[in-house]
């Protein structure tokens, strides 16, 4: 009897869920009858700019694959999601997508055949793209070389591998845009580029337990074992970012006042190197408007004050071990009189955001893995290179080095648990 009641109850729940899912399941959009006509040179150039600003290539290209053919594994707390093939191959890419299907994908996170896309694809941002920019991106992508490659299936934990559930997630996190162009003025343009196209918040806001971006946005997050710094505290701290610093950094991957783009930010700046300077200036102008008041920041971070202490005076045991490692491994480039700082005008290590930040992750990652040579990118200038030290230094030595650079050289309070974090990041590193 009880069993029968339970079974009946389960059937009712299943039926209700089924109806809800059927009700929310979007319809398929018929495949395009023919590929779109080749775009004009002007449309192609404008589309390339939109796609660069949207950083599409960064995720939709794997290190061993062709451009836009997907296959990059994105490690999320819910499993690995593989980016899709967005070349115009008819069977494995978006070759059969109409511009209406493409627009729906960017606006609602739904594929041409009606299946829900995972929000690793930042449709919660691209939903606010203008109709015109979406059409330009479509024209550009549909004119790429088709690549026939089927990417691996996602490896997600149950029940998240059940896509219809995303309809409910979208009710919480998707605020659909209306296709309007951004308002007039540099700041509005910058807001649009940072939010709708650049989807900066996807990394710089951090995610909550449901995989939604934290609110308020831009409080900082973690991606691939790197710390994505808060974007609301750039203008405070000991070395405040200026609008020009930010524009330099975004457009070239290097700010002479703060250091080089590293980790997941590096490919972003490689793409932004190809857009007009006015675009990165607009992004910088907008970012300057979201800064928290400096006074609140001083109260919030007690370590903002200490003055730079001459290094040799206060070397503790671990610091002097770190100083020895620094002398052999780092000083040729980062020492006080090194040509890199004297002639090439690179910032002193003590000013680098990876050293001055509260989280040691970016310092550790850079020491372990270095900074690779620039990949060939249109308009990309060589920003920075550093050899990797993962095979040279032990985790304890990375911690010694951190103690010296952070405390001895930069005069900041020591980070804790660096050796353990180094061991952890070493294990997480991708092959």
């Amino acid at each position: 009897m009880i069993l029968r009641t339970v079974a009946a109850g389960a059937a009712v729940v299943a039926a209700v869920l089924g109806i809800a899912i059927a009700w929310t399941r979007p319809a398929a959009i018929a495949p395009a009858a023919a590929p779109p006509a080749p775009p004009s040179a002007a449309v192609l150039a404008a589309g390339a700019r939109v796609v660069a600003l949207g950083d599409c290539m960064v995720c939709h290209t794997s290190p061993v694959g062709r451009a836009y053919a997907g296959g990059l594994g994105l490690a999320t707390p819910f499993g690995t999601i593989y980016s899709t093939n967005i070349t115009p191959d008819p069977d494995t890419g978006i070759g059969r997508w109409t511009s209406a299907a493409f627009r729906r994908a960017l606006r609602e996170g739904v594929a041409r055949d009606g299946h829900q896309l995972y929000p690793a694809f930042p449709y919660t941002h691209t939903t606010r793209m203008s109709d015109q920019d979406i059409d330009l991106a479509y024209a550009y992508l549909m004119s790429r070389t088709p690549v026939r490659v089927r990417q691996p299936d996602n490896e997600l934990i149950f029940p998240l591998n059940f896509r219809p559930l995303l309809a409910f997630w979208n009710m919480l996190y998707l605020r659909p845009g209306d296709g309007a162009a951004p308002g007039p003025g540099q700041v509005e343009r910058g807001r649009y580029l940072v939010d709708a196209l650049g989807h900066c918040a996807a990394c710089h806001s951090g995610l909550n337990l449901l995989g939604g971006e934290r609110n308020p946005p831009f409080g900082g997050g973690t991606v691939d074992g790197w710390h994505a710094p808060a974007l609301t505290r750039l203008a405070s701290g000991r070395v405040p970012w200026t609008q020009d610093d930010l524009a330099d950094y975004l457009g070239s991957g290097l700010s002479l006042a703060h250091g080089a783009a590293k980790g997941p930010m590096r490919p972003v700046t490689e793409r932004l190197a190809g857009v007009p300077r006015a675009d990165v200036e607009a992004m910088a102008a907008y970012l300057m408007t979201i800064q928290q008041p400096a006074r609140a920041m001083v109260a919030a971070s007690p370590q903002a004050a200490p003055a730079l202490v001459p290094a040799a005076v206060k070397a503790s045991g671990t610091e002097s071990a770190g100083a020895a490692l620094f002398a052999a491994a780092c000083a040729t480039c980062h020492g006080p009189a090194a040509p890199l700082t004297r002639l090439a005008n690179r910032p002193a290590l003590a000013r680098s955001s990876a050293v001055t930040g509260d989280d040691p992750a970016n310092f550790i990652q850079t020491v372990l893995h270095g900074i690779a040579w620039e990949r060939p990118a249109p308009g990309g200038a060589a920003a920075a290179y550093m050899p990797p030290f993962g095979d040279v230094l032990s985790d304890a030595q990375v911690a010694d080095l951190a103690a010296w650079v952070r405390t001895g050289m930069a005069g900041r309070p020591a980070w804790s648990d660096v050796a353990r974090a180094s061991g952890k990041l070493r294990k997480e590193a991708r092959p």
């Binding site: 045991g317 002097s320 071990a321 100083a323 020895a324 490692l325 002398a327 052999a328 491994a329 780092c330 040729t332 480039c333 290179y385 550093m386 050899p387 030290f389 095979d391 040279v392 230094l393 032990s394 030595q397």
Partner: protein, 162 residues
């Protein structure tokens, strides 16, 4: 493990080409200077001094590293192999023989580093594909442009592997 205190007169023990050596140099010295200065192992060369060119490549626990930016302190208790450890002029090792056979050296400055880096690959992957060889050798530069001969020599050595 590593001895880095200023007041210490200790030595740093490193296994170099299979022999334990107690090295007197300051632990803050780059390994390259210790190999060349204290041990007269002159195979590894000073190229850029910044870990960019690979002329100073040696193996540290079987991994290729730039010895010009490798602190002696980081080598304590570990194994170092240099080009001298792979054979001699009279009895060249397999890679060395292949480099001679293919006349892979022009000025020769980069060659010790090239051979050592290639050795790390063959230790791990006895029969690498061309793509694996190219990717693996990427950090080492040759200004003369003998890359094709270097690749041919590595291919030959890999093909001759048991």
């Amino acid at each position: 493990m590593s001895k880095t205190g200023k007041d210490t007169v200790d030595t740093t023990r490193v296994e170099v080409n299979g022999r334990p050596r107690d090295l007197r140099a300051d632990p803050a010295t780059p390994l390259l200077y210790v190999l060349r200065g204290e041990l007269a192992l002159n195979g590894a060369k000073f190229g850029c001094g910044m870990g960019q060119c690979g002329a100073c490549t040696v193996l540290l626990d079987d991994q290729p590293v730039f010895s010009c930016v490798t602190p002696l302190a980081a080598c304590a208790g570990r194994r170092v192999r240099t080009v001298e450890g792979l054979g001699s002029a009279a009895r060249p090792g397999r890679l060395q023989a292949a480099f001679i056979e293919h006349q892979a050296a022009q000025c020769g400055y980069c060659i010790a580093g090239m051979i050592v880096r290639a050795q790390a690959l063959l230790d791990r992957v006895p029969h690498p594909t061309d793509d694996q060889i190219r990717r693996h050798m990427e950090p080492n530069l040759c200004r003369c442009g003998t890359h094709h001969r270097i690749l041919a020599a590595i291919r030959a050595a890999a093909g001759a592997a048991p």
